[in-house]
């Protein structure tokens, strides 16, 4: 069924027989099909915002060992971003309010697409906008650009046409923008859901129904910090998005919930710092995971996670990581989750 798209993690040419003792991991198939032809060599992606446009880490990391790179959030026009401080460390995590500083989609294509073409790792361009038409226009610009393997929608932007309510917080708006981008491009489309809602499931359903190929869960949690002298908020814009190990339980809950209500693949993100986190997210139904904040402390972590996951599969005698997916989901898929109520803000 998936035969012709199979990608094996082993780098060597196929005609060379690998000795059995070489490494238990070389035979493990870690490939992930996110739909619409986007097949990743492995399920470890680097998250939008943590990895720039990939080129920043070219000298520090073996990029081709990654499943995919999600680019920095890109908008139609250049944005200078928020006033600093933009970053604050918090217990087990960090807040950021970069404000989508980026040179604009045209400049991004101009500067980076040629480089991306030369990479084996697919680059998924993360996009944001302030109106449905912003998103659609950015998607249209990216459509057919060599080097762009897919699009990921960041819906945590205020929708100026709807009084500034974030797209991610409303099922109607999330579905509308997803559908508009779907019409604008044939590129594989991931949509990132926000945890800052009472119930994420109707939003996830709306996004899936509008034609998204995969869901990414979760975006950052809204939060704030106070300066050391307690004379002002820590961040220049008061609020920031919380990421890192601190949010992993929330991410697990959201992945667990959305994986049961949509049939498209779910890519998990939130506090992945070690193999155990990857296995946890797979268990609650994710087909792949993104690594974000942890990249700052250890840029080589994602590539190492790929190796560790392959080794883990080998140890368990698995030829693929697929049997690890969804093992912690309720036996009867789609059963209403008992969780959620007590987590409502």
């Amino acid at each position: 069924m998936r035969g012709k798209k199979r990608v094996v993690t082993s780098g060597g040419p196929p005609d060379i027989e690998q000795p059995a003792f070489d490494s238990p991991s070389t035979a493990v198939d870690l490939s992930v099909d996110l739909g619409r032809g986007l097949v990743l060599a492995n399920p470890i992606l680097v998250a939008a915002g943590a990895f720039g446009y990939g080129v920043e880490y070219e000298n520090a990391v073996d990029l081709n060992g990654l499943g995919a790179i999600c680019s920095k959030g890109t908008t139609l026009k250049a944005r200078i971003g928020n006033r600093p401080p933009r970053v604050a460390e918090t217990p087990g995590g960090m807040l950021n309010s970069i404000g989508l500083q980026n040179p604009g989609v045209a400049a991004v294509i101009d500067k980076y697409a040629d480089t991306w073409v030369g990479w084996r790792v697919p680059v998924i361009v993360n996009i944001a906008g302030e109106s449905v038409s912003d998103y659609a226009q950015v998607a249209r610009r990216l459509d057919g650009v060599p080097g762009v393997a897919g699009i990921e929608l960041n819906l945590s932007c205020p929708n100026v046409d709807r009084g500034g309510l974030q797209f991610a917080l409303d099922a109607g708006a999330a579905g509308e923008v997803t559908a508009a981008v779907r019409r604008a491009t044939d590129l594989p489309l991931l949509v990132k859901v926000s945890p800052n809602v009472a119930d994420v499931r109707p939003i996830a359903r709306a996004i899936a129904d509008a034609g998204a190929d995969a869901l990414t869960a979760i975006n950052t949690l809204s939060g704030m910090a106070v300066s050391p002298f307690r004379d002002r908020p820590m961040l220049g814009t008061v609020y920031g998005g919380l990421s890192g190990p601190a949010i992993k339980p929330v991410a697990l809950r959201v992945v667990y919930e959305v994986a049961q209500v949509v049939s498209i693949p779910v890519v998990a993100i939130g506090g992945v710092t070690e193999l155990a986190d990857v296995l946890d997210f797979l268990a609650v139904g994710a087909v792949a995971v993104q690594v974000g904040t942890a990249v700052f402390a250890d840029p080589t972590l994602p590539v190492r996670l790929v190796e560790e996951l392959a080794a883990e599969c080998g140890r368990r005698g698995l030829s693929s990581h697929r049997p690890l997916i969804g093992t912690a989901l309720p036996a009867k898929r789609g059963a209403p989750s008992t969780m959620g109520v007590e987590y409502r803000p």
């Binding site: 915002g49 880490y57 520090a60 200078i80 971003g81 006033r83 600093p84 970053v87 460390e89």
Partner: protein
């Protein structure tokens, strides 16, 4: 440039809550210049998710030893003080752009506010090595926070200002600057942002006041160096080392920006931490 492990060889508390830690890291000692920094990972990875940037305080090529100056302000810096000789920590660097000294400059004025000493300390070594005269103006809240003169090269003239007058000049370190304006060929500063902004204001128009002629075509007098280039900084009278909370330190996350007069935010980790004072939009409120 990949992170490598540096071994702590010596540590001492030079002031209450402030430590100098020396690490054996030959690759840093040989390859780094004053103004550059290292990005260091704490051992408590799940609790403290970010690395910490530290300017290189000293670097000794012969022994391969570099030192950093740590002030305890939170759990991350506190973790560093618990390191014992023999412990290894992961250091990434050297990173960032260094101070650029004009080869013709004979008199260097260094201005440090508090922990800002860590940013300019290594430049004193480099300047003395290159046979330049160095005056270091140091400002602190009180005498008990004044950097020990014993840790500076003997050749450095050391002038102290304290806010409470308990040592040296009673007042801000910036008040000492006009006296040295004529003497100094170039100035280099690191410290709190208001101090740097005041220094930038003082430096403005110096060329006119001092009657420094702009000489014809000699030394590329006709060509202008693009803003942010080493050439532009080398020609600047005042260079500042900026501080901003940092995420990735490889120019990817855009967390550590400062606003420049060009209207585009520049990353402290990559375009900085050293900037020409006139590059920074001090009044922008960033």
């Amino acid at each position: 440039m990949r992170p490598a492990v540096a071994e702590l060889v010596e540590r001492r508390e030079i002031l209450p809550g402030q430590w100098i830690q020396a690490f054996h890291a030959p690759w840093l000692a040989t390859g780094s210049r004053a103004g550059q920094y290292v990005h260091v990972r704490t051992g408590d990875f799940s609790g403290l998710v970010l690395r910490r940037p530290f300017p290189l305080n000293t670097a000794d090529v012969a022994t391969g030893i570099v030192s950093i100056h740590v002030r305890v302000i939170g759990s991350g810096t506190e973790w560093f003080t618990r390191l014992r000789p023999g412990d290894g920590i992961e250091m990434f660097g050297p990173l960032g752009r260094p101070f650029e000294v004009d080869p013709r400059s004979r008199h260097l004025l260094l201005i440090a506010g508090g922990l800002g000493i860590a940013g300019v300390r290594m430049l004193a070594d480099e300047a003395v090595r290159d046979g330049r005269q160095v005056t270091l103006l140091f400002g602190a809240a009180s005498a008990r926070e004044v950097y020990p003169s014993s840790l500076l090269p003997d050749e450095v003239e050391y002038v102290v200002a304290t806010d409470d007058g308990s040592l040296g000049h009673h007042g801000s370190v910036t008040e000492l600057v006009p006296e040295y304006e004529a003497w100094a060929d170039q100035a280099f500063a690191c410290g709190p942002s208001p101090m740097l902004a005041e220094l930038a204001r003082l430096a403005e128009g110096r060329r006119g006041r001092m009657g420094v002629a702009k000489l014809g075509r000699k030394r590329g007098g006709g060509k202008t160096d693009p803003a942010g280039s080493p050439g532009a900084r080398r020609k600047a009278f005042l260079q500042v080392s900026m501080e901003q909370t940092m995420g990735c330190a490889v120019a990817a996350c855009l967390g550590c920006v400062v606003m420049t007069t060009g209207g585009t935010p520049q990353r402290v980790c990559r375009e900085g931490p050293v900037f020409a004072a006139e590059e920074i939009a001090w009044e922008a409120g960033w």
